[in-house]
């Protein structure tokens, strides 16, 4: 586990054990769940997503989150696909508070790493820092389940001369989370 992965794991733990202060606990929320991501004409990369909304900061509108997706949990599961991991922090803005269908925009900032395994491929770029926007729709029924569908764009994708070749620019994703605080 490299230093970035250690930092990311610590962030996940910190978010999971965070308890909102008593006076605001009723409106701060924490959702934990699965993220299924598919790049256009390329891999499935699946993983986890956590998002938090604080009562003191645009409650139930602004969601800060962290996520991890990997082809190890998608296309590379029992196949020869390349193992690649993406770690990201996110900030999402949801419209139509208290409605069932909520349009949203999200900005992710993160780190991508592909494992080409053999030394002969060390000449090829396999990592990238990125900023990727998403727009989509959230579905929020009257239970703690939250589902978000979105389309995203990652400008850090490879172009054959720079950037990792297996990082594709257009992706769709579905995140299904369960509200574990303030259900």
């Amino acid at each position: 586990m490299n230093s970035f992965q250690r930092c990311f794991a610590l962030l996940v733990v910190a978010l999971l054990i965070h308890q909102p202060s008593a006076s605001f606990a009723q409106e701060s929320t924490l959702d934990v769940g699965l993220r299924i991501q598919k790049s256009a004409s390329f891999y499935f990369e699946n993983g986890i997503a956590i998002r938090y909304s604080d009562s003191r900061l645009f409650s139930d509108k602004l969601f800060l989150g962290i996520g991890f997706v990997s082809s190890r949990l998608g296309s590379a599961l029992n196949s020869n696909a390349i193992n690649q991991d993406t770690f990201f922090l996110s900030a999402a803005w949801y419209l139509r508070k208290d409605k069932t269908i909520r349009p949203f925009g999200q900005l992710n900032a993160g780190y991508f790493r592909a494992d080409y395994e053999e030394d002969i491929f060390d000449v090829l770029p396999n990592t990238a820092w990125f900023l990727s926007p998403e727009i989509g729709l959230g579905y929020e029924p009257n239970i703690p389940l939250r589902i978000a569908f979105s389309v995203g764009y990652n400008p850090a994708s490879g172009n054959g001369e720079s950037g990792p070749g297996t990082l594709y620019p257009i992706f769709t994703q579905m995140t299904a989370t369960w509200r574990i605080i303030n259900p």
Binding site: A81, E117, E118, G158, N159, E161, G165
Partner: protein, 310 residues
């Protein structure tokens, strides 16, 4: 005013969807310039040059050279020139199906049509008695050869001895290709950045349907590689890949390396080449070629022939 904007929008949309480019007679796309192998197959295909080989000739290696998407037999002309004084092997330069003719012929062809002419030459050669078959494929030619292997085409047939893939494409460098089904119908076609001379050997206009075919075949090959492909007994493969390539992402070599094994479970050979050219073995009509490019070409031709003769 609103109506005017609406009409302007409709006009722009219709212009964008225009799928009939203005084709010059100097382009391969037109109905004047054709690939030379169509009129004179005996100069390009060994099965036409010598359909009744002696036992000695039938045992010599034949390199079936396959060009890439939107290209023509010209892509392997320099290999033919390099080999012009050799009598110990033969070269068959195959023109992919749907290629080398008009824009409309190209537009109508599917990737299976492209692949058909590879099968035809292989079958003509083996039927004529040639037993030492080798394939050399560049770019999409490489992907089409991998597809033949994965789909079991060679099962029960004379196994090719060697596969040599130069800058094979499995992952495109332009990731826009991945959304061709979405934007293609709006674009209609794209234009290649060819020189005037290159326009006689590569299509200038690429209809979006041909780009979708290209996407279809490389996605199919990627999935075949993910499932794993085993070479026939006694067959080897070597991939030569430029480390920078604006057409076939160099990571294609990683996918091929991971996805193909020899019949004994061994790894295939891969050479990452210090080059920024796509199909670095084709130097003719390029500008800015230096001694390193010439050395890469020569070393690769020598390596292909040397391995093919073993």
């Amino acid at each position: 005013m609103k109506k005017l904007y609406y009409l302007l929008f409709l006009f722009l949309l219709m212009s964008a969807c225009d799928s009939t480019p203005d084709i010059s007679d100097d382009f391969l796309d037109g109905d004047v310039v054709f690939d030379a192998s169509i009129a004179q197959p005996e100069n390009y295909l060994q099965s036409y040059a010598n359909p009744n080989p002696s036992a000695q000739d039938a045992a010599k290696p034949v390199f079936i050279a396959i060009h890439g998407y939107s290209a023509s037999t010209f892509e392997w002309d320099e290999f033919k020139t390099f080999s012009s004084n050799r009598t110990d092997y033969f070269i068959s330069q195959v023109l992919l199906g749907g290629h080398g003719m008009t824009y409309d012929d190209f537009k109508k062809a599917t990737w299976k049509t492209w692949q058909e002419s590879i099968k035809t030459e292989y079958e003509r050669l083996t039927a004529a008695g040639y037993s030492n078959i080798n394939f050399v494929g560049s770019s999409t030619g490489g992907a089409l050869l991998i597809e033949l292997l994965a789909s079991g085409y060679f099962d029960g047939k004379i196994a090719p001895r060697h596969f040599f893939l130069v800058d094979p494409i499995v992952v495109p460098s332009s990731k826009l290709l991945s959304i061709t089904p979405l934007i293609g119908p709006v674009l209609g076609f794209t234009e290649a950045d060819n020189t005037t001379q290159e326009d006689r050997y590569w299509y200038h206009y690429r209809h979006q349907e041909t780009l979708q075919e290209l996407l279809d075949v490389i996605v199919r090959v990627r999935k075949q590689l993910e499932d794993g492909i085993t070479l026939p007994t006694g067959t080897t493969m070597k991939v030569y890949k430029s480390i920078k390539d604006a057409t076939a992402d160099p990571v294609s070599a990683v996918l091929i390396y991971k996805g193909i094994e020899t019949s004994s479970g061994g790894a295939i050979d891969v050479e990452m080449v210090e080059s920024d050219l796509h199909v670095f073995t084709r130097l003719a009509l390029r500008s800015g070629i230096d001694s390193k490019d010439a050395a890469n070409q020569l070393r690769t031709f020598n390596d292909i022939v040397s391995r093919g003769l073993n």
